[in-house]
């Protein structure tokens, strides 16, 4: 749920990176954190296990430029992808304005991707959201790995709606900012619709 502050002339939006375990959600945020100007970002918080798996969430606050005299702030979160953290995933989706669904392109992870997508729909539903109404984009990550499934094939399974989608190699930053820009754009367009 975006938060418009007329007093501070600020608009805040929440974007969540969702996807199966190890698909590269945290890596996306880490890359964004590394490449963003110090004045545009706050501290990145990672609540992780000792083996660097996300335990509760990662959080990265970004402040971008102004729109119509309003400072724009985006709060990026990742969910923990491992199946048994479902309760935490659900909590993080609350109040979401836009979602990046990160896909692990490896053939052996296709079932996990589909399961995660279904899980996301269910969790959204429990918050009273509908995937049709929430802005989201898809990122096909790990394109560098030998068992990567052709994009066309993944698209047929996970993106029949034809939402904006991007190929990525997150540790190298390929596709990371393209994905972020796309979701921010969709979120702002949604805000504009809501404003009518």
């Amino acid at each position: 749920m975006s938060f418009i502050n007329y007093s501070a002339r600020e608009i805040n939006c929440k974007i969540v990176y969702y996807g199966c375990g190890l698909c590269g959600k945290t890596t996306n945020l880490q890359y964004i954190y590394e490449k963003t100007n110090p004045e545009s970002k706050g501290k990145m918080i990672s609540l992780a296990t000792e083996t660097e798996r996300t335990l509760f969430f990662d959080f990265l606050p970004l402040s971008l430029g102004e729109i119509k005299g309003f400072k724009t702030r985006f709060h990026l979160y990742t969910v923990p992808g491992q199946i048994f953290y479902d309760a935490s995933r659900k909590l993080i989706l609350k109040g979401v304005d836009g979602i990046v669904f990160v896909v692990d392109s490896q053939a052996e992870r296709m079932d996990a991707n589909i399961e995660s997508f279904e899980n996301m729909k269910e969790n959204l539903h429990e918050h009273g959201y509908d995937i049709e109404q929430i802005p989201y984009v898809i990122q096909y990550n790990k394109r560098d790995l030998p068992s990567a499934v052709p994009v066309e094939e993944i698209r047929r399974i996970l993106n029949p709606q034809g939402v904006p989608d991007f190929e990525a190699i997150a540790p190298k930053g390929i596709g990371v900012f393209e994905t972020l820009k796309a979701i921010i754009k969709l979120v702002l367009i949604e805000l504009k619709k809501g404003a009518r």
Partner: protein, 161 residues
Amino acid sequence: MAYPQLVMYEEEAKQISAILDKLVKDSNAKAVFLVDKDGQLISQSGETENFDSTSLASLTAGNIAATGGLAKLIGEKEFSIIFHEGEKDNIHISIVGQRVILVVIFDNRSSLGLVRLRVRKASDELAVIFDKLAEKSTKAASSESPFAEITDEDIDKLFNI
């Protein structure tokens, strides 16, 4: 959208500020923060420069969300107060009007009893304001929204990061 959007206006922002300033004083606290349940900072008062308020807001909301999950698990509606005691500083977190989170950071110049007492009073006052805000934002003439006329260009200009 499933939830009404939280909107803050000048008038209410000032009233909230005044309540927080008073709470800091009356409770001898170091700082107080008001955060929405999604982790966005609404207002703050006291020695706030010593704290990373954005991180604090996000972690507080996470904490309340996790605690709320635990409450449901054992059949409670929510735990409306969370208290963490440190060696020097303590943190008192409470839910105001089921909508927003009030965080008070204090040390041994104050006490849990005093903080509780003052928080209760401030919460009642804040709840009234947030009721009014909720009413205002549902009624808000959307025509006055500055975002109705966002252009593609506006959006592209954001990305000089």
